[in-house]
Symmetry: C2
Subunit: 209 residues, 2 copies
């Protein structure tokens, strides 16, 4: 039930009727938004489309979110918020740099496949592709950067510009992740091995430059 990967954000039951309904409405909007974004794509979707996916009135939407963009960010934020602890756990679990990278990459790809299955699919095929830059998203970026900074400080990895390295790791993971999602069946292990090796090979070379 409390699987980190699910976004159900199980509604807290111990509270007044008021608060429960509030949480339920918010969640209803988020759920509808996920469906609508998946179906029409972010661009084409309208606030009205989202609200029509619930049993709420149009005005109610604005009690919860300022705009379509804010809903999207909330969804992205949710994802990042669920994923970051996973990443951090990998960092703390690992004693070797290789284990950290592989753990993190593998976790990311598993996460990707899971989200992909949860109806986020068509959004990637349709129109301009859209990526959020929310606090939690940024936090994930920073978690990665801290991870590598930490590894360098502990002498597990050679001295490299952490900003570049974090960017490089994220870039490889994102793009290879996309390729993996486009080919079926999704071979998480193969992709993770590729990316891990690629990064681990790249780091010492980058350190020399």
């Amino acid at each position: 039930m409390s699987d980190v990967l699910t976004g159900d954000a199980s509604i807290q039951e111990g509270a007044g009727r008021r608060e429960r309904s509030k949480a339920a409405n918010r969640q209803a909007i988020l759920d509808a938004a996920r469906r609508v974004f998946a179906q029409l794509g972010y661009e084409a979707a309208s606030v009205r489309d989202i609200i029509r996916g619930t049993d709420l009135a149009s005005g109610t939407f604005y009690n919860y979110f300022k705009s379509k963009e804010e809903v999207f960010q909330a969804l992205a934020d949710d994802g990042a918020r669920r994923f970051r602890p996973v990443l951090r756990a990998e960092r703390e679990k690992a004693t070797r740099f290789e284990d950290y990278i592989h753990g993190a990459v593998h976790a990311y790809f598993s996460f990707l496949v899971h989200e992909h299955a949860t109806g986020a699919h068509p959004i990637m095929e349709r129109g301009p592709h859209v990526r959020a830059n929310t606090p939690e998203t940024i936090a994930v970026y920073e978690e990665v950067r801290d991870g590598v900074t930490d590894a360098i400080a502990r002498g597990l990895a050679p001295k490299v510009d952490p900003d570049f390295l974090a960017a490089a790791c994220i870039g490889v993971a994102q793009e290879v992740g996309d390729v993996m999602l486009k080919s079926k069946p999704h071979d998480v292990d193969r992709a993770a091995r590729f990316v891990t090796s690629f990064i681990l090979g790249g780091v010492p070379e980058a350190a020399k430059a």
Copy 2:
């Protein structure tokens, strides 16, 4: 005048009045769109905003483009169309894999900095980040994949899944490119060295996996 980097697409003069005006209008719309997207961001921009940036009437817009998205794609397409030959030239010029990678990466970063200076700046800071998937964009992707496939075939690089490798290269270049653009002054050489080393280190390792 015929600098590959400029998007002026110098209007052909040897043609009827009709065609010249058509080309001029199209270009006017594209120019206005570039300005408007840069100023307001892609999301916030409206077709009306774009057309107001020209001396044309609203209806005229639709003689040239179906939608805001199509203009955006045309801009992306233009960029990709100008950049692809540069990439191909690097591929044909290079005799060693390292030279190809470095040439390509360096060219890409130079291109990035140039575009960045041409008012594409604020678009990256504002709202959800948007990336196109146009024929020419895809062609660039394929050019990269062909480049690495070719290198592998000629024995310049170890045997690796070309799709993964192309994705990895593009991912690293894109993300590190973003980081480079965010830090001033833009140190193209440093970023290019980093990415080149990273990739060249990663490839042989990835080949083992």
